[in-house]
Subunit: 338 residues, 2 copies
């Protein structure tokens, strides 16, 4: 039983309550024979949801009742202080008490980070955890971090993000020396703000990092790097601008395809192509965001996740547990005493 992967699913986080996490967990149980899931939240709501989808009865599910909910509008500090009985908190407590190996939640990001930091703590030597997401791009795609865990960052933090991102890419994608880049406003030496210039020196001097230099926002999707590092403010803006651009372009495509009857006919013919395009554009939303640097696996699914994307977040948590991501990060950081 010890070799099984045990995952806690916060069933009350996200925009849709248990409607998304519960079916996603059922899907994960049926797809991955090696995992067990703890469904954390209002017992009645979870049981109702399981009945709704006629989920087969399985001893691989455990329902852990939680009487409170962290809402999207809750301030992280308030959620941490005043909601010890929330599904989010109990799910993270389960990781801390070693009842499960990982937690997946679509809830309030700030609260999840605050509770994660408070309960699980950061790994020894880690200054700040980082939020990291897979972003599809030419080639294999890449990991972008930080996405908003830290908004006032120093160069040493960016250096650690580079190490953590490289550890993730190494173990999850089995790359010997992932290419690490800094997100910057130019490729040439000497470009960037003060923070980036200082970080560049630290990362460049670190022989454990396969540093390929700076990349610009326009090259984010070019496949030049496996890991792209930036401060949380910039990363959050970059990721959301790319989402905003994709949705703006989708709206333009929709408008143009319904402009007149000729366009509408063409749209019917192009439907399978369009659905392939939309599916590829949606890939990023499929993957959850990993909180790196904590002493436990925490994966955040989008607040408005679909069942499919929440399922992918569970799959990601499973993978991070099975490839010993936390240990890999610890090891990568341990070799560089400050």
């Amino acid at each position: 039983m010890a070799s099984r992967t045990r995952i806690a699913v916060d069933c009350m986080g996200g925009d849709f309550g248990p409607c998304v996490p519960v079916p996603a967990a059922v899907q994960a149980i049926s797809r991955f024979p090696g995992i067990d899931i703890a469904l954390v939240g209002d017992r009645q709501a979870i049981e109702f949801q399981l009945a709704q989808i006629e989920a087969p009865i399985s001893d691989r599910f455990t329902i852990i009742h939680a009487s409170d909910i962290v809402y999207m509008s809750d301030k992280p500090a308030a959620a941490l202080r005043h909601k010890p009985q929330s599904s989010m908190r109990i799910a993270i407590d389960l990781v801390n008490e070693n009842h499960v190996d990982a937690v997946v939640s679509a809830g309030n990001t700030g609260a999840l980070l605050a509770i994660g930091c408070y309960v699980l703590k950061t790994l020894p030597g880690i200054h700040r955890p980082a939020i990291c997401s897979f972003v599809p791009a030419n080639g294999q795609g890449m990991y972008l971090l930080d996405l908003g865990a830290n908004v006032d960052t120093d160069a040493e933090h960016l250096h650690q993000f580079a190490l953590m991102g490289a550890a993730l890419s190494s173990v999850v994608d089995d790359l010997a020396a992932p290419r690490v880049a800094l997100l910057n406003i130019g490729r040439e030496d000497g470009k960037g703000n003060d923070l980036v210039k200082r970080a560049q020196k630290l990362i460049d001097a670190d022989e454990d990092i396969n540093f390929v230099g700076s990349i610009e926002g326009s090259d984010l999707f070019s496949g030049f790097a496996d890991v792209v590092v930036c401060d949380g403010f910039v990363g959050n803006v970059a990721l959301k601008v790319s989402e905003g651009t994709a949705s703006y372009i989708s709206s333009i495509i929709r408008e143009e395809l319904t402009r007149d009857w000729v366009s509408r006919c063409a749209a019917v013919l192009a439907k399978p192509i369009l659905s392939r395009i939309y599916k590829r554009l949606d890939t990023q939303r499929y993957s959850g965001a990993s909180f790196l640097g904590l002493a436990g696996v925490v994966v955040k699914s989008h607040g408005d996740s679909t069942v499919d994307s929440f399922f992918h977040a569970i799959a990601q948590a499973k993978k991070e547990v099975e490839c010993n991501l936390v240990e890999a990060i610890g090891l990568k950081l341990k070799v560089k005493p400050k």
Copy 2:
């Protein structure tokens, strides 16, 4: 003659030398009866280019010879110090000496900014100039600034950017009270890094600014604001990520349309729709970037501008001169003595 708009075109800047600026200037002369153009650069190369395109002879052109060129790879400080005979420098000198009203260049952005600041100076009271570009979005689109003139910015700079952006939007788009937003990582109060939080207070307290609060990267294209303010590092990343996303999506569309013969047939039928879509996606590249806060109109066209987009940059410079943008910015800033 005094009421005519006189524009200096740097014919040697950009990736293609005179091949782009010269035909664009010819197009502008024929489209706008009220403008005269000074073509600045290597006389022989310009005359050759005029002959190539069989440009009609016109006394509305003047060729001003320049023996040197600022290259894309030149360091701004070196270009400023060592290239007093470059086409870029001479074109800006023409503005300073009131021989022309504006300059348009597709050359090295950093050098254009450095020379612009040195020769023209900033308007009284302006701490830093900003680079501002029109970005298409739902509704009328919006102006985004700063795009990289400043990478280490303080809150007072962002406050001035808000005022300058509002002045631009007011006079160019004839809006009484343009909606100004801050680019941030959340809409709620208290979100953001230290810089943005401090800027938010200053901008919010300024009764001359119709401040609509923070917007996230995902809302950049939603049409919530007419002017979006951020520091130059963030703005540069945001703009380039949006370009990178658009080009990544275009590549996905192209791939999917050539995947098999059914797709290729559909692509033929969808061709007019696709070209409308591509045209709309390309709008942003059409407009030049304005350097706001200088005592003169300077418009930067993309380094890889087409004739069409360079023409649009000339049209923009013309508009900025004719609506007295520099005076409007001076006025907007003057009412708030520090």
